[in-house]
């Protein structure tokens, strides 16, 4: 295929033991030890009061990572296309609806229902950031990050526009947890621009490949990569962190579908 080339101009990250991109790049490079702490999600200050009350963890998680990415990219947000690629959506909300529907009284809460759509986060995010541009809302199970990256890159390249990609996971309670064991909350956001900006961190070129996805030799990092679909982005973030500090190009293979992966060339800016 045609190689898709663009610039990573902002990054946001939040997960167990990863409190932000700023605090995590040293961990990904191995210059600072990883400590496995539970994910701490900040309150969504940007949302109006009514929406703040109704916002679930996946909304707060995506807002936090997107705001870090937008701040590092120094980007105004009211006309920015977005891609939301989630493996599951809001696990607790789904559990509550299914539990209610299995009970005698099937009166589900209206808020639970409108939060159940896969694009609920996109709705809250657009309200919070007053953003009326298009949003793509995708799912490719464990390959959701790869799907989102591919879709975002085509937007940037074809429509010559900046784009923000968000990918997040939240855990299901039991009994769904046994079927889909996501351990904690994990989220990641990238601002991708068609041209280099003053804030650009790295240039990326994306192609498809049948080669096997890269895995981490560090078991703790590999546990994050393999347990969270959005954690499949971590090898790319590590390559960006190395490219930034060592001024060297890196080649990384990102997991996507069982027979299709993404080959990303990362070049320092």
């Amino acid at each position: 295929m045609t190689v898709l080339t663009a610039y990573i101009s902002g990054i946001g990250l939040l997960g167990p033991g990863l409190s932000s991109w700023a605090a995590s790049s040293a961990i990904l490079k191995g210059t600072q030890p990883y400590e496995a702490n539970k994910t701490i999600i900040p309150a969504p200050e940007l949302l109006p009061a009514a929406e703040r009350r109704r916002a679930s963890n996946i909304v707060k998680l995506s807002l936090a990572t997107s705001l870090e990415a937008l701040a590092t990219a120094d980007m105004l947000t009211t006309d920015l296309p977005s891609v939301f690629s989630f493996s599951n959506g809001d696990g607790l909300n789904c559990h509550s609806i299914c539990e209610c529907l299995a009970s005698e009284d099937r009166e589900i809460s209206p808020t639970r229902f409108h939060n159940s759509v896969h694009n609920a986060v996109a709705g809250y995010w657009s309200i919070a950031t007053k953003n009326m541009a298009t949003s793509s809302v995708l799912c490719a199970y464990d390959g959701s990050f790869g799907a989102g990256l591919l879709d975002a890159m085509t937007q940037v390249v074809v429509d010559d526009t900046a784009c923000i990609l968000m990918t997040s996971d939240t855990p299901y309670p039991e009994p769904m947890h046994s079927k889909r064991p996501i351990p904690d909350n994990f989220g990641m956001a990238l601002v991708i621009t068609p041209q280099i900006t003053a804030q650009s961190i790295a240039k990326i070129s994306v192609d498809v490949t049948q080669e096997a996805a890269d895995i981490f030799s560090d078991p703790l990092l590999e546990s994050l990569r393999s347990h969270y679909p959005s954690g499949r982005s971590l090898p790319l973030l590590q390559a960006i962190a190395f490219a930034q500090s060592q001024a060297q190009s890196k080649r990384v293979i990102i997991d996507y579908l069982e027979d299709l992966r993404l080959l990303v060339e990362v070049t320092p800016c």
């Binding site: 898709l4 609806i97 229902f113 759509v117 009326m132 799907a147 769904m176 046994s178």
Partner: protein
């Protein structure tokens, strides 16, 4: 944008299996919505059910995907020689050069709803035979479609509520234009489930009778189920006269409210204007609008305001939801196909069930089928979370694409 060819397409809903039955139903004004008798649901509402899904059998090596949503997908893709057309495209382009992007809102959630009822009394565990990734997960129907056709290109589900399967046209456009793929299997599949029936009921948005879009006394939606598939490619040099082209596409977000549209339809206006702009057309070039037209008081009012802001009040429009019901994540694709049938067979489809057009809407809503040559039409799809998508489709022989 560069126009794209809808080289093959098919649709299955409560009004028919495949294009021929669908066209007949539209031309005869078939009433297929019926009082809700779905599963264990006890609600005073109407539904649009596809009969016979209980007897659809998955291919032996794909049993893990067995759920109502994938059964409907399979039933639909076997109509109109669509499966054969995809196989031929795979031979022509290569299996890795065809993308699969399918819209759905609820995927196979019905399986999970039933699995919760069948939890183990002692341990609370879900049944062993409940296979989350192949049924409930939102990706399931795109995964199923990709495996069914043995394709190896990029794939994902698009799930932005009721705009999902209109937005897959945008995904495919970008992927083809970027050179990632040469063709795409796109579409939408959504099936009846308890979540949407009880969910829309909780919001007071279910009509107790067959829905009446744009009626002065409209009182909510009727939920339907449908599957529609399209093979989208770059146009060939010599197009057939009845070829259908995607000419324009607009997408926007309301940034207003989670479950109510912007009262002035601001996001809808943006989507329609962008669709015209990408097609390099003006409002007067559109001969018919297939409205989102859900039959809720707020949707139809906001959409009419948006139509009035972008078009003059004379452009003929109607909603297909009185016929098919609101098929949610499948609505965009099935209504694009209804537009394609209207273009090919030169008629404006009248909206069913509506008795008295709401005079406050001030739109040229069509109650009867009307023979008319159509060159270019628009299809609107909007959804929860304030997501909007408008498509412009055209008939090759009428727009002189040859």
């Amino acid at each position: 944008m560069k126009p794209l060819l809808l080289s093959h397409f098919t649709a299955t809903s409560c009004i028919g299996r495949g294009l021929s039955e669908t066209l007949n139903a539209l031309q005869q004004g078939l009433h297929a919505l019926k009082p809700c008798d779905f599963e264990t649901v006890d609600l005073q509402t109407y539904i649009g059910e596809v009969e016979g899904l209980d007897t659809v059998k998955m291919p032996p090596h794909m049993q893990a995907y067995d759920c109502r949503n994938n059964r409907l997908a399979q039933l639909a893709m076997m109509q109109d020689g669509f499966d054969q057309a995809v196989m031929e495209a795979a031979q022509q382009y290569g299996r890795d050069r065809i993308g699969v992007f399918i819209g759905t809102s609820t995927s196979g959630i019905l399986e999970t709803e039933i699995a919760f009822r069948n939890r183990d009394m002692e341990t609370g565990k879900l049944p062993e035979d409940f296979i989350y990734p192949k049924t409930q997960n939102t990706y399931s129907v795109a995964d199923f479609t990709r495996h069914y056709f043995d394709l190896t290109g990029p794939a994902f589900a698009v799930s932005s509520a009721c705009s999902s399967s209109a937005k897959v046209f945008g995904t495919a456009r970008r992927m083809i234009e970027a050179g990632v793929i040469d063709a795409a299997v796109i579409g939408g599949v959504d099936t009846l489930c308890l979540t949407t029936l009880y969910g829309f009921n909780s919001l007071g948005l279910l009509s107790p009778q067959a829905c009446r879009p744009c009626d002065a006394e409209r009182d909510g939606i009727s939920i339907g189920e449908a599957a529609a598939f399209i093979l989208l490619e770059r146009p060939t040099e010599q197009l057939d006269d009845d070829s259908i082209l995607l000419l324009g596409l607009g997408e926007s977000s309301d940034a207003y409210h989670m479950s109510s549209p912007h009262p002035e339809g601001l996001g809808a206006q943006m989507a329609m204007q962008q669709a015209l702009k990408t097609a390099a057309l003006t409002a007067s070039d559109i001969d018919y609008i297939n409205l989102h037209g859900t039959s809720t008081p707020s949707n139809d009012a906001a959409e009419a305001k948006a139509v009035n802001a972008v078009f003059n009040t004379q452009v003929p429009c109607s909603s297909s939801k009185g016929a098919t019901g609101h098929t949610l994540g499948a609505a965009g694709a099935i209504e694009a196909i209804i537009c394609a049938l209207a273009l090919r067979h030169a008629f404006i489809p009248g909206g069913l069930n509506t008795q008295h057009i709401d005079p406050q809407l001030n739109i040229n809503y069509q109650l009867e089928n009307k023979p008319q040559t159509l060159k270019r039409v628009m299809s609107n799809s909007f959804g929860f979370g304030g997501t909007n998508c408008s498509l412009v489709l055209g008939l090759a022989k009428q727009i002189g694409s040859n």
